[in-house]
């Protein structure tokens, strides 16, 4: 620039050539960069982009697996899949500008709520994913839709499967029910696409929930090629699904159903166990909801009816109901006394009550001279109060706990409550006070702090009957561990069993509940748990104020095979409400005909079978609520 020389045409030519060279070089460099970039994308990153391209191209529509069956110990099905008809709409196949929803709603008699829901779903869906219109439609409706399919582009009527429980309410609390996954469950499974397929159900409660990993199975997949706008181009080779496993329970379907029916309209729970293996044969909580209607998505009306019922049909009383044990604790207390060296033949004179401290504890009756056997037989409170004061309360209560009360068992039942078996140490820790004479007195008859669940009510007689530390089991496939013997003298156990046999067969509290069978005797123990401390015991006018009736039993008394624990809420005396239910259920285990014959007149008196009564109740409730299923 500062050169003084004048620029000539020659200079210009040189500059031009130089700059042409530079420009050509720059162009070649850009070309090289482009080829390099192309190579980088197509070779070095080829795999990454091929994967992305495939995931663009191929969409996987999960094909839901069929849910595994649940069968009883003999292989009888208690939860199966029934063919059902459903109607869906595939938004992509719908005709532009034509609204078919009202037409479909009319054919299927859908409510306005349903129509709103369908419109919302249609709006939110991706083209090829079907939107559920209705599940479990009747065959007539299915057929009605099918013949009109050519006029209803986008509508799909398909046969699917829905969960079916042949025994209905009888297995409700044992099995729970299934339902469509909610938002929380969907999030919890990291947005598993399977969960949002219309019609796919997961276990919501009971065994259906806890056995979900076994029952669900592995989804298959329909691989389809779709365009960016969600239009299906073609179907690729599908991946087959694998059905869920069949799970066998230790339950005896017949007994389960019988016990549920036998309980009638009473509110209560019954658990039956095999005393050899610890197998739970019946797991009944009544009244109950119908899991079939829950699985289909329960109607508002039915839900309201269940919620409003004072017998709490929505509560699983077996695992979650807690009750004072009442006198059913006495055999275990007696075993505790024996362990501490109390002479079972020692006579005690029951004058109708005893004085403890400055309070007089009154018994139901003056039993006169009793020993251990007759104290159990007649459920003499005074004997247990007096002996309780003579022995170490810590050791005695530990024995009761050892036999099952207050224990938690390893069962695939979601949320078990296992109550309390108090002892002096526990009292000190929890309430910071010393164990008093009246604590011994209350505990000796299963009142005060004692709270047990119905499962423990069956484990207790099963352990006494077998002399083994049985653990209850629900799954047949579970590993059978050798059962250790109870750490008690077998002579002591014999005394307790004799006492319990006398309760039913001697002159005890449950003589009215002898088994109607030749050569098979039942041993048992009644219990009556006070609900309200201050009111007098016995029959009350108001149902909710009446005492709970309890009964524990095993049979045959001489060679035990089965044990049953039962509670009837507000049933009054254990002997009058709970013992007959146990008697008939026990009879069923030995002689089905006889048991069913005993049930027939009862059901007639109650106004029909369980299913009939349930249906009638629902109809009455619906009529009262003034709703109709549109």
């Amino acid at each position: 620039m500062n050169r003084p020389t004048r620029l000539t045409v020659a200079h210009q030519s040189i500059t031009f050539s130089r700059r042409m060279l530079l420009l050509g070089g720059a162009q070649a460099a850009v070309g090289a960069v482009l080829v390099g970039r192309l190579g980088w994308l197509a070779i070095a990153q080829n795999q990454k982009y091929q994967l992305l391209s495939e995931s663009n191209r191929v969409q996987l529509i999960p094909v839901p697996p069929r849910r595994g069956w649940i069968i009883d110990r003999a292989g009888k099905p208690i939860a199966i899949n029934r063919a059902s008809f459903r109607v869906d709409i595939v938004p992509q196949q719908m005709e532009e500008g034509r609204d078919i929803v009202p037409e479909v709603a009319r054919l299927l008699a859908l409510t306005l709520d349903d129509v709103d829901r369908i419109r919302r779903d249609l709006h939110a869906s991706r083209g090829f994913q079907p939107v559920s219109v209705a599940e479990n439609v009747t065959y007539e409706q299915y057929a009605g839709i099918t013949v009109r399919l050519p006029d209803l582009p986008g509508v799909q009527a398909t046969r699917g499967y829905s969960r079916y429980y042949p025994d209905g309410p009888a297995v409700a609390h044992l099995l729970g029910y299934v339902g469509a996954a909610n938002a929380k469950e969907y999030e919890a499974e990291k947005k598993n696409p399977l969960l949002i397929i219309p019609g796919f159900k997961i276990g919501k409660q009971g065994l259906e929930k806890s056995l979900e990993p076994y029952l669900r199975g592995v989804p298959g997949g329909q691989r389809i090629e779709v365009t960016a706008r969600g239009k299906l181009v073609k179907e690729l080779d599908p991946k087959p699904d694998r059905s869920g496993q069949t799970v066998q329970l230790t339950i005896d379907q017949g007994l389960q159903q019988y016990a549920a029916r036998r309980m009638g309209d009473q509110s209560g729970a019954l658990v039956a166990m095999d005393v050899e293996s610890g197998d739970i044969l019946a797991f009944v909580s009544m009244p109950a909801f119908d899991p079939n209607s829950f699985s289909e998505g329960i109607g508002q009306t039915e839900w309201k009816m269940l919620s409003a019922n004072d017998h709490i049909p929505l509560l699983n009383k077996v695992s979650q109901g807690l009750y004072p044990s009442g006198s059913t604790i006495k055999p275990a207390m007696a075993l505790g006394f024996l362990k501490q060296g109390l002479d079972p033949n020692r006579k005690f004179y029951c004058s109708g009550g005893i004085q403890i401290g400055n309070r007089y504890f009154r018994d139901d009756a003056a039993h006169g001279a009793v020993d251990m056997r007759s104290a159990i037989e007649h459920s003499c409170n005074a004997y247990f109060w007096a002996m309780g004061l003579k022995t170490n309360p810590q050791q005695t209560t530990e024995m009761v706990n050892y036999l099952g009360y207050g224990q938690q068992f390893d069962l695939p039942v979601p949320s078990q409550r296992f109550g309390t078996m108090p002892n002096p140490k526990w009292l000190e820790e929890k309430y910071h006070r010393a164990w008093q004479g009246y604590d011994t007195a209350n505990t000796s008859i299963g009142q005060g702090y004692v709270l047990i669940n119905p499962l423990q009510l069956a484990v207790m007689p099963a352990r006494i009957a077998s002399g083994k530390l049985l653990q209850p089991r629900l799954l047949m496939a579970g590993k059978r561990k050798p059962v250790p013997a109870l750490d008690v003298d077998s002579e002591h156990l014999k005394i307790i069993r004799e006492g319990m046999a006398a309760v039913v067969n001697g002159g005890g509290t449950a003589v009215a509940s002898k088994l109607p069978l030749d050569g098979i005797q039942m041993a048992g123990k009644t219990g009556t748990a006070q609900v309200f401390r201050l009111v007098a015991r016995g029959h009350q006018g108001s149902w909710a104020l009446r005492d709970h009736a309890l009964f524990i039993a095993f049979a045959p008394a001489d060679k035990p095979r089965y044990a049953i624990g039962c509670i009837i809420e507000h049933g009054g005396f254990g002997a009058s409400a709970a013992a007959p239910v146990v008697r008939d259920s026990m009879t069923y285990l030995f002689d089905k005909e006889k048991a069913l014959a005993a049930l027939a007149p009862l059901e007639q008196q109650w106004g029909g079978s369980l299913a009939e009564r349930n249906a009638r109740e629902l109809a009455a409730f619906k009529a009262a609520a003034g709703t109709t299923t549109a």
């Binding site: 210009q12 031009f16 042409m20 420009l23 482009l34 190579g39 197509a42 365009t227 960016a228």
Partner: protein
């Protein structure tokens, strides 16, 4: 050139190598458009073939125009194009929207397309008129800046950032070759670095977003980054040999947007792979080298500058488009000439080639005469 006794002389004197090359590129482009339409000549391939053949005929016809005629028409054409640009802007103002073309009833004219060769010729003509001694004077700089700046601004406000960049780059190339001092070119680079943040704020929302996404395309793979992401997937998944003709899933299933226009290279690379891509780049490289050679062996300053500028126009078309589809440049809407569907890019490139052929014929004619 083919020398044979049976071929008539005027035909034999055509630059056949170039014509074959261009026809080869365009033919390949037609195959890609055929595939992009799902294996159909409708709606793109057939139309494109007609357009190409038409403009090829025009280009060959243009090769007989003399340099003097080109020179004489340069300024009037430039002025006319400028007027049309203003007209488009006025129409856009009246019609309350972006307007890039003039609808003359029988044809839609996009004046900004004409401006690419026009600016090259105008600047070449201008520097031919500037005496050698004056080239580093301010007098040789400001008129060129004005000639380039006015249309560039008019195109930018259309808004058509891609064409604006093309026009500026073509003009700057001619100015660079004309021998303007270095600081003219180095200065703006520094200035751009400083002014970029300010200019960024003045861009339209969608343009700004495209730049944001260019800097980090994965930030918005479903939104504005979708084009670049899908384009890279198409190219990358093609691999070395490609997925095969009519087998590209990205384009056929509509994942690749604009697969027949701006992103046609991605459609091509998915099916023909690295091999197809490299062959196409080499073919374009040969066309550009042919043009640069015309410039290098030109006798007059006008034809030197014009030939280099016209070659640069083709170069910028190809390179900006390829950088764009491969994620090296923001998406600015520059088509791949001769391959992308659309008449205007074919027209511009064929005008450039026609002018180049005219200048090349001139050299030979002159050489045979002297």
């Amino acid at each position: 050139m083919i020398t044979s006794a049976i071929i008539p002389k005027p035909l034999a004197r055509l630059p056949w190598r170039l014509i074959f090359l261009v026809a080869g590129i365009a033919g390949f482009g037609l195959l890609v458009l055929y595939s992009a339409a799902g294996g159909s000549v409708q709606p793109w391939a057939l139309k494109q073939a007609v357009i190409f053949v038409g403009f090829l005929g025009i280009a060959i016809g243009m090769s007989w125009i003399s340099e003097a005629t080109i020179k004489a028409l340069t300024f009037p054409v430039y002025a006319l194009t400028l007027i049309m640009l203003v007209g488009v802007e006025a129409l856009g103002f009246v019609g309350k929207g972006a307007q890039r073309w003039l609808d003359l009833g029988f044809i839609r004219l996009q004046p900004s397309e004409f401006m690419k060769p026009a600016i090259v010729l105008t600047l070449a003509r201008f520097y031919e008129l500037v005496p050698a001694g004056e080239i580093r004077k301010w007098r040789a700089i400001w008129p060129a800046m004005l000639l380039l700046g006015v249309p560039a601004v008019l195109i930018l406000v259309q808004p058509d950032l891609g064409t604006c960049i093309m026009v500026v780059l073509c003009g700057v190339t001619v100015m660079f070759l004309a021998g303007l001092p270095w600081w003219i070119f180095a200065g703006p680079v520094v200035a751009v670095a400083v002014a970029a943040p300010i200019a960024y704020n003045m861009l339209h929302g969608y343009q700004r977003k495209r730049i944001d996404v260019f800097l980090n395309p994965e930030s918005d793979p479903l939104g504005a980054g979708y084009h670049i992401s899908q384009s890279k997937i198409a190219i990358g998944s093609g691999g070395i040999w490609g997925k095969g003709f009519l087998q590209g899933s990205q384009s056929h299933l509509d994942y690749l947007p604009e697969g027949h226009t701006d992103f046609v290279f991605a459609t091509m690379a998915e099916e023909w792979g690295l091999v197809g891509g490299v062959l196409l780049i080499i073919a374009f490289g040969l066309v550009i080298r042919w043009g640069m050679r015309v410039s290098a062996s030109a006798r007059t300053r006008f034809s030197q500058l014009a030939a280099a500028g016209l070659s640069a126009t083709i170069f910028f078309y190809v390179s900006i488009n390829l950088m764009m589809v491969m994620g090296l440049a923001p998406v600015v809407g520059v088509p791949l000439p001769l391959v992308s569907f659309g008449g205007s890019a074919v027209m511009t490139v064929m005008l450039c080639l026609g002018l180049l052929m005219a200048l090349e014929r001139q050299q030979r004619t002159v050489s045979t005469l002297t």
